[in-house]
Symmetry: C3
Subunit: 425 residues, 3 copies
C-alpha cells in the first residue's frame, strides 16, 4: 500500500520547523527533491513585490524556551516547535507572571493541545502551551529566551514540471509552511510527492503537470505573479492538496466558478469512488490557496479534494494534529482518489461516433462472448457510448448521463477507437 510509504515520508518531515520562510522549508524541499530529483527549488528575495504583497523577511530560530520560577525549562522549541509562535522576534528577558501571560496562548476548550499560532505581519513574540500546563504555572519571575532571526533573506519554494504530449496543464499545489502537524499540512506535500511519482510513471501522458510546493497565501500569490499568463493559458484543471491524511471522511471544496472541469471531474470521482463525501461551499468555507487561484482576474479552475477539511476537526492547528491523527489508510485513500481524478482527466475527451446510425457491433465481434452477470452492463455501456458520443459532450458528461463511473468506459473507448468507431473532437 502506497499509504505506508507516504506515511513514512510524513514521519521523516514531521520534526522540521517549517514557516513561511527559512531553513525548515529548505530542509523539507531537499528531502522532497531526494524523492523527486527533477524538483526545482527557487529562492525569492525579501522585499520582492508580488501583486499587492511583498515577500517578508526570512525567519529562523535556533532555540527558544522559558525558565520558570523553579528553574525548569518549559515551552521548549526543541521539544515541540509549536511552543513558539511562528515569526517570533528575538527575546531575552526576565518577566513576572503577569507580563508573561500576555504572550502566552492556550486553548481552554482543548486543555491537552498546544495551539499553532503565527504572527507573520506584526512583529511580536509569543509562546503556545497546553491549558493544563498553563494552569500549573505560578507567580514569580520567568526568563524568556528566543534565539530567532528575522532579516532579509528569501522565500523558498519547489516546482516540478512533468511534460506531457500537450502544453495544456493539470496543476497541483500544496504547501510547506506549517511546523509539526500531520493532516494540515504534512499529508499535502507527501501525497503530492507520490502523485508526482505516479504521473512520472505514466506512458503517453497527455497533459503537462505543474506541481508546486509553496508557503500558503504569500507563496501562491508570489507564484501567480510570476506565472499568471502561462497558467491562465494552459491550466485545464487544478487542485490544492491539503488535509489528505486522516481516515474520517472525504470533503470537496469547489472552485469559485463551481462548475469547471476540475469541479466536474472531482464530483464524478467522489460520487463513484467513495461511500460518501461532504461538498463545502466556496462562499462559506474556502480557506486555502484556492482563494488566490480563484480570485477575480485570476480565475483558475482550482478546487480541493480533502479528507477531513481544515477548520472542521477539533485537532486542527494544534499539536493534536499529529502523526496519530493521520494514517496509512487515510493517506492511501486520498492518493487513490486523486489517481482516479488524473485518470479521468487523461481519458476525458469529447468523442464522436464515426458512423451514422448505430454501428453493427456484431460484425466487429465487439459483443462480449462470455455471458456473465456483467455482460449485459457492458453491452448497455457500449450502446450508450454509441448513443451519446455525439461530439458535443465529453466522456465525464456521458458517464454522468448514463450514471456509471467513467472508469467502466475506458476499455470500451479503447476498443471502439481501435475499430475506428470513435474520433476525438
Amino acid at each position: 500500500m502506497i499509504g505506508e510509504k507516504i506515511y513514512d515520508l510524513c514521519r521523516e518531515l514531521f520534526p522540521i520547523n517549517r514557516s513561511l520562510t527559512g531553513d525548515g522549508v529548505r530542509k523539507t524541499l531537499n528531502i522532497l527533491k531526494r524523492e523527486l530529483p527533477e524538483l526545482n527549488i527557487f529562492e525569492v528575495p525579501t522585499g520582492t513585490k508580488c501583486f499587492d504583497w511583498t515577500i517578508p523577511k526570512e525567519w529562523n530560530c535556533k532555540e527558544a524556551y522559558i525558565i520558570d520560577p523553579d528553574g525548569n525549562k518549559i515551552c521548549d522549541f526543541k521539544v515541540n516547535n509549536l511552543h513558539l509562535m511562528g515569526y517570533s522576534i528575538p527575546a531575552n528577558k526576565i518577566l513576572n507572571f503577569e507580563e508573561l501571560e500576555s504572550h502566552m496562548y492556550s486553548l481552554p476548550e482543548l486543555p491537552d493541545a498546544i495551539p499553532y499560532i503565527t504572527s507573520y505581519y506584526k512583529q511580536r513574540w509569543g509562546f503556545c502551551i497546553t491549558e493544563n500546563q498553563r494552569q500549573n504555572l505560578k507567580d514569580g519571575e520567568y526568563k524568556v529566551y528566543i534565539d530567532s532571526t528575522l532579516k532579509d533573506g528569501n522565500l523558498t519554494y519547489g516546482e516540478l514540471i512533468i511534460k506531457g504530449e500537450s502544453k495544456e496543464e493539470i496543476f497541483l499545489s500544496t504547501y510547506v509552511c506549517h511546523p509539526s502537524m500531520g493532516n494540515n499540512e504534512l499529508s499535502g506535500p507527501t501525497v503530492t510527492t507520490y502523485l508526482a511519482k505516479y504521473i512520472q510513471s505514466l506512458k503517453n501522458r497527455r497533459y503537462t503537470y505543474r506541481i508546486i510546493f509553496i508557503p500558503e497565501t504569500i507563496g501562491s500569490i508570489m507564484y501567480l505573479s510570476k506565472h499568471l499568463d502561462t497558467m491562465k493559458q494552459n491550466i485545464q484543471a487544478g487542485f490544492v492538496l491539503t488535509c489528505v491524511g486522516d481516515n474520517y471522511s472525504y470533503s470537496f471544496l469547489p472552485s469559485r466558478d463551481e462548475n469547471t472541469l476540475a469541479d466536474k471531474v472531482s464530483r464524478h470521482v467522489l460520487k463513484n469512488a467513495v461511500s460518501n463525501y461532504t461538498e463545502y461551499s466556496f462562499v462559506e468555507d474556502r480557506g486555502s490557496d484556492e482563494r488566490q487561484y480563484c480570485a477575480p482576474g485570476i480565475d483558475l479552475p482550482v478546487c480541493s479534494i480533502m479528507r477531513t477539511k481544515y477548520d472542521e476537526y477539533k485537532e486542527y492547528h494544534t499539536s493534536l494534529d499529529n502523526l496519530d491523527y493521520i494514517s496509512f489508510k487515510g493517506l492511501n485513500g486520498a492518493y487513490e482518489v486523486y489517481i482516479k481524478v488524473i485518470e479521468a482527466l487523461e481519458n476525458n475527451h469529447t468523442y464522436k461516433l464515426t458512423v451514422l446510425g448505430e454501428p453493427q457491433l456484431g460484425k466487429r465481434d465487439l459483443y462480449p462472448t462470455d455471458s456473465t452477470k456483467d455482460t449485459w452492463s457492458i453491452v448497455k455501456n457500449m450502446m450508450n457510448i454509441c448513443a451519446y458520443a455525439d461530439g458535443k459532450i465529453d466522456l465525464v458528461d456521458i458517464a454522468e448521463k448514463i450514471n456509471i463511473p467513467i472508469w467502466e468506459l475506458y476499455e470500451i473507448i479503447y476498443k471502439f477507437k481501435n475499430e475506428k468507431l470513435l474520433s476525438i473532437v
Copy 2:
C-alpha cells in the same frame, strides 16, 4: 415617522371625487403640486388616439341622489361619492322600485359596504348602496337625480422628472382615478409623493427619476404612447405604486419577464427587510398598470411591491377601504421598503477588484480595530467582496451569493473605493 405625514395627505385627498377624468383629478394633482412644486400637470384632449385606445369624454358630477317614496334623500353623492356609479350619465326621472333595482349595486356578502362600480366605456347610470340599506327600501316611486356631464374635455395627469447624473431612469407610476378609498388608491399617490421628496433630497443622485400620477389603464396607455421610445431606452427599473397603505402584509408582483433588475432588487430588499411577503404570479395575479408596462413590444422592467394586494382583501373596491383600513405604520413600512429599493439601485454597480489575488487588507488598516460580535462578519464581508467583485456580477448578485442584505456592503464598498481597490465596470 414619515407615515404620519403620508396619512395626513391621504386624509386631505380622501373626500375628492376622482375618476378617469374630471375636476377631481385636477384638484388632487394641484394638492400634490403644492407638495412637489416641480410636478407638471398635463391635459390630453378627448378623442386623442393612444395605441389601440382613445381618450374618453371628460366626466364631472355636481350632485346625485335618490329621493325615496317617503321623501328621504338616499345614496347622496355628497355624503359618499361611492354612491354614484363612476361615469354615470345625467338622469332626472321618476321610477318605480322595480325599475330602480336594475340600476342599483350592493354586496350581499358584505352588507355594510358600498361597492365601487364604474362604467367607463358603456353609457349608463347607477347607484351603489349597502346591502343593509337596500333591504329596507320599499315599493313606491323613486326620484333619481344625477347632475353629471360627460362631454369632450381632457384627461389630466402629473409628471415629475428628477434629473440625476445619468440619463438612465428609475420609473415610479401611481394612479389618481379612484374616489374615496384608502389602500387602493390613496396610499399610492401619497407614498409616491413622499418618495419623490426623498429622491429630491438625495445628493449625487445617480439615476434620473420619472414619476407619474395618472388614471389607471387609459393613463398608462396614453403615457406610453407619448414616451415609449425614451422609456424603453432609459428605464432600468420601474414600479407601480398601489396598495401601499395597510399594515397587514407585504406582497410582490413581478414583471412579465420575472427576472429584470427591478424584480431582482425588489425580491432582495423584501427578503432582507421584512419578516415575510407573498410573491404573486404575473400570469395569474397581474391587475394594474404593469399590464401595460410589460405588454409585448413594450417590455419595460416594471413590477410592484405592495402591502395587501388589490383583490386580496375583502374591503377592496368598497367603502370599507377607508381611512381606517390604512395606517401610519402601514404607509411608513411601504415607504421604507421603497427607500431601500432606491438605495439598492443607486448603489448597485458591477465592481471589479483592481488588484490580482487577495489584497493585503492589513497594510491598509481596513480590518476593524475593535472586536465586537460584528467584527468577524465585517471581515467576512470584506473577504467576500474581494472574492466576488469579478466584474461580472453586480452588487445585488454578490449580496445574494453571500446571503446578506446589500446595505451591509455599502460602507465596505465605500472604503474599498477610497483605497482604489474597486473599479466600476
Copy 3:
C-alpha cells in the same frame, strides 16, 4: 369509434407472417395500400450498403413443423407463425430429443406463451413452444421440417408523403416486421394508417407529412441512408408509432435531446389529455427506431407516445400479445392522442400581438356576451394571449405558461387573427 376500424385492420393483418423481409411484408403493405392508395412500396436489394449495415438476404417460409415420436405434428408454423424462429434456415432431419432441445425456446415463467425469437444475423434454425407443451415432450426421434428460403432478394417498405403548405415535415415511422402479435406491432401500422387518413382529410394542411412503414432497425437505417439530408432539413417533429393498442396505460419516450418540439408537444398533450402517463428515459429505456433517428449526427427530433411500452408488459414478444391484448378503446385512445398532437403542431406558431399595450377588446366585441361559468376563463385566456404573445414563445409555451390545454386557445387565436390582433413571427 375509429378504434373499431383500426381493430378490424389489425385482425385482417394478424395471421400474416411478417419478418425483416419477405412476402409477409409485401402482403401487409399491399393491404395498407388498399387503405391508403397513395402509399408507395419500395424494394431494396440484398447487399445494399446502408451506413454501417447491409441489407440481409430475403427470408420466406412455406411450411415448418416437427413430427414427435408418436407421429403428431407439433410447432406447426401454419397454426401459429411464432412457432418458427424468425429467419430459420431450411431443415429436414431426424434428431433425438436431446439434440432437438438445443433448438427449442420456451418461457418457464410464462408457461402458456410461445416466445417470439429471431436470428437475423446468425444462420441457424429453431422452434418456439409453450413451456407447458415442452414439458410433455418425451424421449425419442423427432422429425424437423423447415421449408424456408434465405437468398438474395429485397427488403420491402412503404412510404406515404402527404404534401402540405410548407416543405417542413412531420414524420411518422412505424414497423411491419413482426409476425402475429397485437400491441407490438400491429397496433403501430394500423393506427398510423388511420392517422394518415385523418391527415389526408385536413384542409389547409400546414406541414408535409412523411409516413413510413418499415422493418425495425435495418429499415430505419436504410431509410435514413437514403433520405438523411432531406429529413434533417425538413423534419420538425417525428414519432415512432409502436405499442399503441392496449388499454392499460400511456407512456412517453422522449428523443435523445429530450427537449425538441416533438417532446414538448407530446408532454403537453399527454399532460392535458390523459389522466396519467409514464415518462420513460431515453438513456435507460429506448429500444425502437428512435435509436437510429436520434443517433449522433442524425439527431432528428423523434420521440414516441405509446400505450403500454414494449418490454414493460409480460405478454410482450410472446403469443399472448394477441388480438385479446389490444382493444377498440386502446387503439382509439392512442389515435385520439396523436390527433391532438398533430392539431397542436398544426396550430403552433410564435404569435406577436400587433398593437402596443393591451388591445381594447370591448370595441371589437371579443368579450363573450353570455355569462356562463366558462366566460371568465375565456376572458382570462384572451388576456393571457394579449400578455404572452410576444413574438418570442410559441403557442405551446404560452399554454404551458398559463397552464391550460393548447386546444382551448385555438378559437381565441382564430378570432384574434381575424381581427388582425396577432401576426405570426
